[in-house]
């Protein structure tokens, strides 16, 4: 998987460089700016995750969101995803770490999807813009889609 990413990036970077040198440097500058702006937060989240994973017993994590957690695990992941706010660059590495601990894909999917589409914390903003009724409907339907998608992932990966 990593090799595809490395190859793709290198090829595109070379093409971009041949076509327009200035634009390419601008792209690299943008990339560096983004990396440096998330650097501290990223290390923080990783430190927190590794602390959590080594101090919370695996049985406990498995009990809540593991393979046998069933509908409760799904609801827990959906709830956690709906109320938290974190950028993708934090959520997906977190998902990958959970995956390494044997947490099923559909639980991770329920979490990342509700995180992306259901906004508990951003609700006031949405309410202001769309009105209460429409904002609630939109978030409710998003939650429903997150549930459906998680179930499809469960089927596809045979978990």
């Amino acid at each position: 998987m990593n090799i595809i990413l490395w190859a793709l990036t290198t090829v595109l970077l070379i093409i971009s460089f041949i076509k327009d040198r200035d634009k390419t440097f601008k792209a690299l500058k943008k990339a560096w700016k983004k990396i440096s702006s998330i650097f501290v937060l990223f290390f923080f989240i990783m430190a927190l995750t590794s602390l959590a994973l080594s101090f919370i017993p695996p049985e406990l994590i498995n009990h809540y969101i593991g393979k046998e957690s069933g509908i409760n695990g799904l609801l827990f992941a959906l709830g956690f995803g709906s109320v938290s706010v974190m950028p993708g660059f934090v959520a997906f590495p977190l998902g990958a770490t959970l995956r390494m601990q044997g947490i099923p894909y559909y639980i991770i999917g329920a979490f990342t999807l509700s995180l992306m589409t259901v906004g508990f914390v951003t609700f006031p903003l949405e309410k202001k813009f769309l009105g209460t009724k429409v904002a609630i409907t939109r978030n409710g339907l998003s939650l429903l889609i997150a549930i459906i998608t998680a179930l499809v992932i469960k089927l596809v990966f045979g978990e």
Partner: protein, 180 residues
């Protein structure tokens, strides 16, 4: 100004936490504290794993932002209608950075340019699920098959929701509150 100060403070707290974290790791290795050593192992294992991915993912995102012009897409969206409009909305959502905070003002300006509520609500749905930088991250960390399944299920469903919600609201006198 105040917001920036708050941000600076937050960063400061995070850095102090990280320093304490590293002190804890060093003590754990010196004192042979197994739980702490496990923490360190997990931490460095993940960090090295990420270092192989993150720089490349961000370079891809940078290239993408430099080469793709958002304005061209918006121009198409004003002109094309029907099926094509939904296609452009999908592309536009791919370029959305910053989530809902940028999606709402954009939705408002699309409305002013004459896009239908069906198209706009589809855009708001898509903006949550197909943002490209985010999707690049998703693929690199959770795998192509996971992301592909996720995209193939969510895109049609959000299209459906956008069209139905937009159609219902088109009939009422719904308008965006652009003051916010």
């Amino acid at each position: 100004m105040n917001k920036n100060e708050n941000k600076g403070k937050k960063k400061y707290i995070l850095i102090i936490f990280l320093i304490l974290f590293f002190v804890f790791l060093i003590y754990s290795y010196i004192g042979d504290y197994s739980q702490g050593k496990k923490t360190g192992e997990l931490f460095f294992q993940t960090i090295f794993g990420m270092l192989k991915i993150i720089p490349f993912a961000f370079i891809l995102i940078g290239l993408f932002e430099v080469w793709i012009d958002r304005k061209t897409v918006i121009k198409h969206l004003g002109k094309d209608s029907g099926f094509k409009a939904y296609f452009w909305v999908l592309i536009l959502a791919g370029f959305t950075v910053g989530g809902l905070f940028t999606a709402f003002p954009l939705a408002d300006s699309l409305r002013k340019k004459g896009a239908s509520l069906k198209v706009i609500f589809t855009y708001l749905g898509f903006a949550g699920i197909v943002r490209l930088p985010m999707t690049i991250f998703e693929i690199t960390f959770l795998g192509v098959s996971f992301t592909l399944t996720r995209v193939l299920v969510t895109v049609p469903l959000f299209l459906l929701v956008g069209i139905i919600l937009g159609a219902i609201l088109d009939k009422s006198d719904f308008e965006f509150n652009s003051q916010s």
